[in-house]
């Protein structure tokens, strides 16, 4: 894999990192509504993004390891 490929893959890693930090780092999600099965938004938003973050991070692993972005 050439350095262009690894540069592109590092950009993807950067975007994923910014996305997950964007979701969590500032508590803009601190609202009660909409609730999910009675659970305030604040709590279920945090929990649902564990699953999404986990899937995204898992799915870019082979791209990173094989594509020289690790």
């Amino acid at each position: 894999m050439g350095s262009n490929g690894s540069k592109r893959n590092w950009i993807i890693v950067g975007i994923v990192t910014l996305l997950i930090f964007g979701v969590y780092a500032w508590p803009w999600y601190s609202s009660v509504n909409p609730t999910l099965a009675g659970l305030p938004f604040f709590y279920w938003w945090v929990i649902i993004w564990y699953v999404i973050s986990s899937i995204i991070l898992y799915s870019i692993v082979s791209l990173r390891v094989k594509g020289g972005a690790s």
Partner: protein, 497 residues
């Protein structure tokens, strides 16, 4: 006088602890390696796959203290207390960013510890020694936190079985004896099995903790008839975060996010991975561990809703009440044997990370300190020193807690976490941008440390350290900013190439 329920709980607890000890010792024969070599004892031969990485990271990051203290914070403070789980996905995202590169360097050059890495990469014994000293100091008080959690578990167990109140003098005597036995077991299996023993112990612990947390969640929802009832009538700070707390919430989270995988024991666990691929997959899956933990934290609110839980928790003194929230839900809502199982899971949840910390301190002593004293020490000699250092460190940490009151130990821990953050330029920046000169690395580390300590003392008016925020900003970041400015001065003195 022991009740039938108390008897059931106690027997489950004891039997499972014995199984835990056996599992830990069995680690010696697990994927057998030459245990006289330090990388075999202290990094498990770098052979851990995705599944074992998941269990090891899960066990060492989600400790007894986090399982008990976050619900305690939610119970007392409301949504603000939830910051302790909100950061979890960011922790592993950040670790994923830099750890593979660090893993690769450690593998290629044969580094066992970050002090080892600092010595090799910066060609500086001074930097290596600084990391050993600061790392061991911080780690020692991290164990203190675990012991605080262990006391709450023993407090619950003895209260349920023998009606011994955690405030009584009898409790102090019994719990000390039990903790001594537990730490002896931990020291013994660290000595014989190293990271292999910790990994097997971690699987055992994670299974019990997951069972326990899921039990708490299901039982609480059953008794409260769902989330709507759980939250109804609660003050608004429990429903969502008040906007005035946003900055404190955010900076408390980020302080943990950037320092989490700078802790020497977490680096040890990560370097034990078999490949970059397994390491990254392990990290991404470990985030899922936060799901049951976060839901269990929400259940802390049920203390106000279920009378039996309320009366259990409120019979305890206000200062330590919070740590009894999860144990209270367990003993009040589920059958005694299941409560015993979950309590033991949380109990070993404090012991497993303590064992990894002991192995890490062992590695640093055997690899780094021993070579400073005796330059030509053999590989076998290093391992011998490391094993004994792990044993001594384990017992020393327990002894220290008998001398230093828990409130002081907690203050040292808060400062320790700020100190660990000062490793960031060396551990995170250096692998990617190799411009830092050793003189500035050392100066940045120590000045960042001293600034953090000074500002922390100032922010607490030179009294008991209860906050690491200064105007809602995490103080470790102030030290880190100065630290980074200092290491950037390296750019003014380009290296000869």
């Amino acid at each position: 006088m022991i009740t039938t329920a108390g008897y059931e709980l106690l027997i489950t607890f004891i039997v499972l602890f014995i199984i835990f000890a056996i599992v830990g010792f069995m680690g010696r024969t697990f994927r057998r390696g030459d245990m006289s070599q330090l990388h075999e004892w202290g990094l498990g031969g770098r052979k851990l796959g995705t599944v074992l990485q998941f269990f090891l990271q899960g066990a060492d990051w989600f400790t007894a203290y986090s399982i008990l203290a976050i619900p305690s914070a939610v119970f007392a403070l409301g949504a603000f207390g939830f910051f302790g789980v909100t950061y979890q996905a960011m922790v592993f995202t950040f670790a994923s960013l830099f750890m593979p590169r660090l893993w690769k360097i450690s593998r290629e050059k044969g580094y066992i510890t970050i002090a080892d890495y600092a010595r090799g990469e910066f060609n500086s014994i001074g930097l290596s020694l600084s990391i050993v000293v600061l790392g061991i100091f911080a780690t020692l008080f991290y164990i203190a936190l675990q012991v605080d959690g262990l006391y709450a578990i023993l407090g619950t167990t003895l209260l349920e079985s023998f009606h011994i109140l955690p405030t009584s003098s009898a409790f102090k005597e019994y719990s000390l004896v039990i903790l001594f036995i537990a730490f002896l077991v931990i020291a013994a299996f660290s000595f014989t099995s190293g990271v292999r023993g910790v990994s097997l112990g971690a699987i055992f612990k994670d299974v019990l903790v997951w069972t326990g947390l899921l039990t708490v969640i299901v039982a609480t929802l059953y008794y409260t008839h769902g989330f709507t009832n759980l939250f109804s009538g609660m003050p608004s700070k429990y429903l969502s975060l008040p906007s005035t707390e946003a900055l404190a919430f955010s900076s408390s989270m980020l302080g943990v996010v950037f320092s989490a995988y700078l802790w020497p024991h977490n680096i040890t666990g990560s370097w034990a991975a078999q490949s970059e691929d397994r390491l990254l997959k392990g990290y991404s899956l470990t985030i899922l561990y936060a799901i049951p933990l976060a839901l269990a934290d929400v259940m802390a609110i049920a203390v106000y809703k279920i009378p039996s839980v309320h009366s259990f928790v409120f019979q305890l003194p206000a200062a330590s009440r919070g740590l009894y929230v999860i144990p209270g839900l367990l003993v009040s809502l589920v059958p005694p044997w299941l409560a015993g199982l979950a309590l033991l899971g949380i109990f070993v949840g404090g012991l497993v990370p303590a064992a990894l910390m002991a192995v890490t301190v062992g590695n640093m002593t055997g690899r780094d300190l021993a070579r400073m004293v005796k330059a030509n020490i053999s590989a076998k000699g290093q391992t011998q020193v490391a094993r004994w250092a792990a044993v001594i460190f384990t017992l020393l940490s327990l002894a220290l807690l008998q001398v230093i009151p828990m409130t002081y130990a907690f203050q040292f821990y808060l400062v320790g976490a700020e100190i660990i953050l000062q490793f960031l330029p060396i551990v995170v920046i250096h692998p990617f941008f190799k411009f830092i000169r050793k003189e500035f690395a050392i100066a940045g580390l120590w000045i960042g440390t001293l600034v953090s300590i000074f500002v922390t003392l100032y922010a607490n008016h030179y009294k008991v350290i209860s906050t690491t925020l200064y105007h809602d900003l995490y103080i470790g970041f102030i030290g880190l900013l100065i630290n980074i400015i200092i290491v950037l001065i390296s750019l003014a003195f380009p290296k000869k190439s």
